[in-house]
């Protein structure tokens, strides 16, 4: 099957050790995690993982089901690029000299809509948000002059659909919060 870059979003309780539980599911199937970001979600007490990985649909479906099987995971989804709006942040550190000596750098900052975060006697830090291709392109351009450091964040993504699917899930689960018919 064809390999695609999938964005996996996982909503979890805020419990120590969940990152390990989730990543080993990828590792065990020899799937490389391309990027990973963890943050609080819009819902209080619930954390959101955004993971990207390249694999086929059959495998990503199995992976997502295995993730959802973990007790403290509320819900997990996999999405393709056309289903999400996504962004990454990149930071570039360049020598101040090259910024001062090369007006092309200022043009690049304007062209890419990047920002200069800091300039001091020894270096300048440029920031760009965008897709991987954009931030990579700017890196390639800046490399012509010299880049001291370069770092790119993991992907963050939100779905294009208007409903927050997790809210529905939570509402449904709360209706179940009545003593269950325990077998024993």
């Amino acid at each position: 099957m064809e390999k695609t870059l999938y964005t996996v979003t996982v909503f979890t309780e805020n419990i120590v050790g969940l990152l390990n539980q989730i990543t080993i599911i990828f590792t065990r199937r020899h799937i490389n995690i391309e990027s990973l970001t963890v943050s609080q979600s819009s819902l209080p007490g619930i954390h959101k993982f955004t993971i990207t990985a390249e694999t086929d649909e059959d495998m990503i479906r199995k992976v997502v089901r295995q993730i959802e099987k973990r007790i403290d995971v509320l819900k997990a989804y996999y999405l393709t690029d056309d289903e999400v709006i996504y962004q990454e942040v990149a930071l570039y550190k360049i020598p101040s000299d090259s910024l001062l000596d090369n007006p092309e750098i200022e043009n690049l900052v304007r062209k890419y809509n990047a920002r200069i975060l800091e300039v001091n006697r020894s270096y300048a830090v440029i920031e760009l948000t965008g897709h991987t291709e954009d931030t990579q392109e700017l890196f390639n351009e800046l490399s012509k002059f010299r880049v001291l450091q370069f770092v790119r964040s993991g992907r963050i993504a939100i779905t294009k659909s208007t409903v927050e699917r997790l809210s529905d899930f939570l509402a449904e689960m709360e209706t179940r919060n009545i003593p269950s018919p325990c077998k024993k």
Partner: protein, 565 residues
């Protein structure tokens, strides 16, 4: 018990009482000593079994859980105590056995310092448990224990590990207990979808050659009667997985036998001929399916399961019926039309006849030569009226027992299916005996497997556990030897085994025993064993080159079945 001041260790005991625990398997040590001190205080509340090794404690707890349907409880210390439980926990995970395993841990201020007997138990056990959690405060104890029991038992059962730091054991707290009935992130019982019920029923109603695969889910869901009603109404023949054995009595007319690598010919061949394959609480293990590219390709597949991650994992389904089978089977049965598939069911007879002549009779009623493994199993099963709990180790003994032991009652088979853990049998039989004191327990093991956990004879001695231990001794690691004979040009690498005198070992533990070499002594020896009300070890010298047939080689399909005649 409300709002009483106590330390965390005592709170653990009180929590276990709240969960109706009455049997605990374990082994003490430095970092769990406070819990064992509390156990001393509460010794009248529990039957405590000191096994001779922590692995034995986990397998015993598995045997206990499998036979009784209760959650098995284990308490061990940190470090080596905790790493010794790994095999049992992994075994319980693969075979969906509910366990709560409590491990001691160094004090919370020492965590991460490579303190004496510190291991990252949560890190190690996360991939092989349903839930693994470190309790660092006494005040968390009731919450963690309540959650552990809920998770272990509800939905698809499995093992839970609670790692309790030493300070959480000693800290004082105010005890109050609330059972767990709900975790918002965990849905143990998927909501049965009426559409899937209707489409499953429709597919079954239109089937000409339906065939059902019965797994342990039926036993775990206590749905034996619901299964019978389902099969009878639509007249569906069924095969059983290794762990599904005894969900249907052996003599139930629609029970067509065992599935998989060493299963019966009929159910395996018919899997490749049926038009609708109905999997009930089973997970299409590769030992059942063989080559997935050739498995039941002609059939539409209906999969009844409680675990959404099992759907389409190995075999693509036409219809998934997600729910507890206790609920989904009657729902589908209600929509089934009375049906008759006489000709289809009769077509199994030919396979049965062929297998009887070519495989079964030579194995269970050999006319000359050494005693065979199947012969011993058959004779014991007959002598006990097909009414015992069968416990097996792993390997040839396991498959011979699964093939030739017969069952009348549910929950009568305790074996390590998914992990295939040699050494499982002896400790599991202890747990089975304690979990079903009213039943007779027959353990079949090989000369290899019994020696992996043979120290548990000490547990049998100390607690007077009345298990019948049958050692099928061929002086080989027989199953590996079988593969070497068939697929590795008879190069018997590391499989011949020099064995001790098992009777002398049994004798040292005060366990009655006998060794049988000649066929003519076998019946009388079995009778003597069964008459004995205590534990008994019967060693039978069986043929060295015995083979388990039929065999579908690993990764092959039913067309490549080997009958060995």
């Amino acid at each position: 018990m409300k709002d009483k001041m106590m330390n965390g260790a005592e709170a653990l005991m009180c929590s276990l009482i709240e969960e109706n625990v009455n049997t605990i398997f374990g082994y003490p040590g430095g970092q769990i000593i406070i819990v064992f001190d509390a156990l001393y205080m509460y010794k009248d509340s529990f039957q405590y079994i000191l096994t001779r090794h922590e692995q034995g404690a986990t397998h015993a707890a598995e045997g206990y859980a499998r036979v009784s349907g209760e959650t098995g409880v284990v308490i061990v210390t940190s470090g080596p105590g905790a790493t010794n439980i790994i095999t049992g926990v992994a075994d319980a995970m693969l075979d969906s056995t509910p366990l709560v395993v409590i491990t001691g841990q160094v004090g919370s201020t020492q965590l991460g310092s490579d303190a004496f007997q510190e291991t990252d138990v949560v890190g190690i056990t996360q991939p092989i448990t349903k839930w693994s959690y470190q309790v660092r405060k006494a005040s968390e104890m009731p919450w963690a224990v309540a959650r552990a029991f809920y998770i272990a038992r509800q939905g698809r059962p499995g093992p839970v590990v609670l790692d309790i730091t030493k300070d959480a054991q000693s800290e004082m707290m105010e005890f109050s207990y609330k059972k767990c009935h709900f975790i918002r992130s965990y849905q143990p019982y998927p909501t049965l979808q009426p559409e899937s019920v209707a489409s499953a029923a429709k597919l079954i109603n239109n089937a000409e050659r339906p065939f059902a695969l019965i797994g342990q889910g039926v036993l775990l869901g206590h749905a034996e009667e619901e299964l019978k009603a389902f099969l009878i109404k639509a007249d569906i023949p069924a095969g059983s997985t290794l762990l599904g054995l005894s969900a249907m009595p052996s003599d139930f007319p629609l029970n067509k036998g065992l599935l998989g690598m060493h299963g019966n010919i009929g159910p395996n061949i018919k899997t490749a001929e049926c038009d609708v394959l109905i999997a009930i609480g089973m997970r299409f293990d590769d030992r059942v399916t063989g080559d997935l590219n050739k498995y039941a390709k002609q059939a539409k597949v209906i999969h009844f399961d409680i675990d959404p991650s099992e759907i389409d994992k190995n075999v693509k389904t036409t219809i998934a019926v997600l729910a507890d089978v206790k609920q989904s089977l009657p729902a589908v049965t209600a929509l089934l039309e009375l049906n008759i598939h006489t000709e289809w069911i009769r077509s199994f007879d030919e396979c049965e006849k062929e297998e009887l002549q070519r495989v079964i009779l030579p194995e269970i009623k050999p006319e000359a030569g050494s005693i065979t493994m199947g012969e011993v199993v058959h004779k014991v099963s007959e002598a006990i009226g097909h009414d015992a709990v069968l416990v097996t180790d792993v390997g040839q003994n396991q498959w011979m027992a699964a093939r030739y032991f017969k069952f009348k009652h549910s929950r009568s088979v305790i074996t390590s299916g998914g992990l295939g853990t040699m050494g499982f049998g002896l400790p599991a039989s202890i747990g089975a005996a304690l979990g079903a004191p009213e039943r007779r327990i027959c353990l079949f093991c090989g000369d290899g497997g019994i020696q992996m956990t043979i120290q548990e004879l000490g547990t049998i001695m100390e607690y007077k556990i009345p298990v019948k231990i049958i050692v099928l001794n061929n002086n080989y690691l027989g199953m590996v030897r079988q593969w070497q004979e068939l697929f590795f040009r008879e190069r018997y690498s590391s499989t011949p085994m020099m064995n001790p005198d098992f009777s002398k070992i049994a004798d040292a533990y005060g366990i009655a025993s006998r060794k049988i070499v000649k066929r003519e002594d076998l019946d009388q020896a079995i009778e003597e064993m069964l008459k004995n009300n205590d534990s008994y070890l019967l060693e039978v010298e069986v043929e060295e080159n015995g083979m388990v047939y039929p065999m579908i080689p690993a990764g092959k399909s039913v067309e490549q079945i080997i009958l060995g005649d």
